[in-house]
Symmetry: C2
Subunit: 381 residues, 2 copies
């Protein structure tokens, strides 16, 4: 298996742009990624593109705009982990020696999708979903359990305060506004104890990453970012699991990635992850072994996961402030990690970042399991 490098990253504006097409958003991200590494569109040999809603040869539509045509293009979907899936898809093509240069794209136009302004609807067969167990209800139930174990609503609010602060340092964030704990707690109640400012917004946007073999990378840059691990797996769907707070598939995939990368969780310098709801971030600290089991609340309270802390989490602003165009997020998190590893993250830079981790969870709440699929990538300079 060949070593794979990321040489170009790009992101479109994130926000609500109902007048823009997915092709337009995706092309903005791909153009930025091509500019970032200075390669010609003609050098791209393969593309994987994630989009959850209205996919209809999206890769072809995006790449036509930037003059990439006549190559193998695969459109993928894996709910919120779609971007992690497209990144892994291109990584495989190169690691396995099938192609030398490829682009991973994630794009979502939420404001023009069939669920614009709505909650993600349950599948036909999802009984609990139809009875009201939507995403916010699910995470509210989990939050109640976290509160039984010592968390407070202020802790959840603190995650949102932290990530919105980070978003203020990110020119590409959808929301650049500081909020206080009181602001978050006093925002509209969505599903007790989850308030509006503890939920990620609906967002239009795209991200792209250009991957290549290490040999090709050295032609374009003296500082390629290496992909140490790529792991993706779907859930076991064990009904009524013992601990509704943990994501078993999230834990499994994190372990797969650490083992593949040959790094210890304590070697990780920064993490970008799925914080669709503020309380979720605390759970994932434990799933990703950034602390001992049960130590998530303490880790948050210690300030370790803030910018400047021991292990910054979501320095980009995360889904909460940067916005969450479903399939774009899994590529965008990788782009953020790359920025830090290159020392190009500006005011939100993680000092001396050498190894970073990008995680995504995706999928239905059916059977009380968070995440039908999880993807983790570990990158290093």
């Amino acid at each position: 298996m060949r070593e794979v490098a990321v040489i170009g990253i790009g992101q479109s504006a994130f926000g609500k742009f109902p007048w823009r097409t997915a092709a337009d958003l995706g092309a903005e991200a791909v153009r930025a990624a091509l500019d970032d590494c200075g390669i010609s569109p003609k050098a791209i040999e393969v593309a994987h593109c994630a989009r959850a809603y209205d996919a209809n040869c999206t890769a072809q539509g995006v790449l036509k705009e930037v003059g990439v045509r006549g190559i193998e293009m695969i459109n993928v979907e894996n709910a919120c982990a779609g971007g992690a899936t497209s990144f892994r898809g291109v990584w495989k093509e190169i690691a396995d020696g099938r192609y030398d240069v490829g682009v991973a794209i994630g794009v979502e136009s939420m404001t023009t999708s069939p669920i614009a302004g709505k909650l993600i609807p349950p599948e036909k067969s999802d009984l609990e979903g139809h009875l009201g167990l939507t995403m916010p209800a699910m995470f509210a139930m989990v939050a109640r359990r976290q509160m039984e174990q010592g968390a407070t609503a202020e802790d959840f609010a603190q995650v949102s305060v932290k990530n919105h602060h980070n978003g203020c340092l990110n020119p590409q964030a959808q929301y650049k506004k500081e909020f206080s704990i009181a602001d978050v707690l006093n925002s509209r109640m969505i599903c007790d104890p989850i308030t509006l400012l503890m939920c990620c917004p609906n967002t239009d946007g795209a991200a792209a990453a250009i991957l290549c073999s290490m040999e090709v990378a050295r032609r374009y840059t003296t500082r390629p970012i290496r992909v140490l691990a790529s792991a993706l797996c779907s859930a076991e769907y064990k009904y009524a699991q013992e601990d509704i707070c943990a994501s078993p598939v999230g834990i499994k995939v994190a372990r797969m990635a650490y083992e593949m990368a040959g790094v210890d969780p304590k070697d990780i310098d920064l993490v970008e992850m799925h914080d669709a709801f503020a309380n979720e971030e605390i759970l994932r600290y434990e799933d990703l072994m950034l602390c001992e089991p049960g130590g998530g609340i303490e880790l948050l309270r210690s300030g370790a996961t803030a910018i400047g802390g021991r292990i910054p989490v979501n320095p980009s602003g995360g889904l909460l402030a940067l916005g969450h165009p479903l399939s774009a997020s899994g590529v965008r998190t990788v782009c953020e990690v790359v920025l830090h590893l290159r020392g190009q993250a500006g005011e939100r830079q993680t000092p001396k970042a050498k190894v970073g981790l990008a995680q995504m969870l995706g999928g239905l709440v059916t059977n009380l399991e968070h995440g039908a699929v999880a993807g983790v990538h570990i990158l290093a300079r």
Copy 2:
């Protein structure tokens, strides 16, 4: 690169089943494929699943039903070539040595999709589509050009008569009814000269194929079907191409496949292909080099592409009679080829079939190019 075998094939019922979920249809196909080769669901290590409409972790939903959980699952989309894409995805996983056993799934529930009862809507940016250049209009325009070159409406009707006859020999076809040339010509005019019986129907259905390394295949069967070639590519989108009848990407991918397989078009014993409209099949004879350029009409009139002819095309009944659940068709065509190579195709069997070809075209009519993407697989016993 390792040699890959198909050891199990399965198909759900094809028809209009608005009361069934995609998970249910997909599970029927996967169960049939597992039964076909006698392997345990636990042996499946990876899955790729195609679905164009309402994809939302469809692979996870399908496979949960049959007890396949906790593995890597990739949901893909490539319009009508989605099934070819999922088959190729699993082929790559095994050819590249990443996994030993995988399942390729294609599923579509057209009757519950947002386009149920409608034409496939044009993309936002597709100006011609919004001006009325829908799929039937596009193929009617192409048919007019074919008529300038010597084809008659009776020729187009003959394709439909042939494929509907074949469908009568296929227990799994949506329509099992013989039609005469007059029946086809006198059916409702859709877009002159394309009549209703020259259009493929909207269909719900699923297909699945189990692929594995040759080493594993020998444990389960003495007669594995080998995948000689897998090719997939997206279009160049050259506006106002010289010949609106040919599909440049279809020709390119056919050549890639023949070269990879090391076989000549004259070595092919049967073909399953995209006959969304009756006149299209004649064009694809030429794209796939089953005859000389311009020889498609003559090939049809000679009877060579009927069951019992020199090179049977769509012995299954094709999209016209068997039905066209978009993403399922690309896997279903492979399943049909496998049946013939095994000698299990019953009344529609191609005698002494040794090598077969499954082709799919997918995608928008934007810029007058047929097919945003083409996929071709060549299989042999």
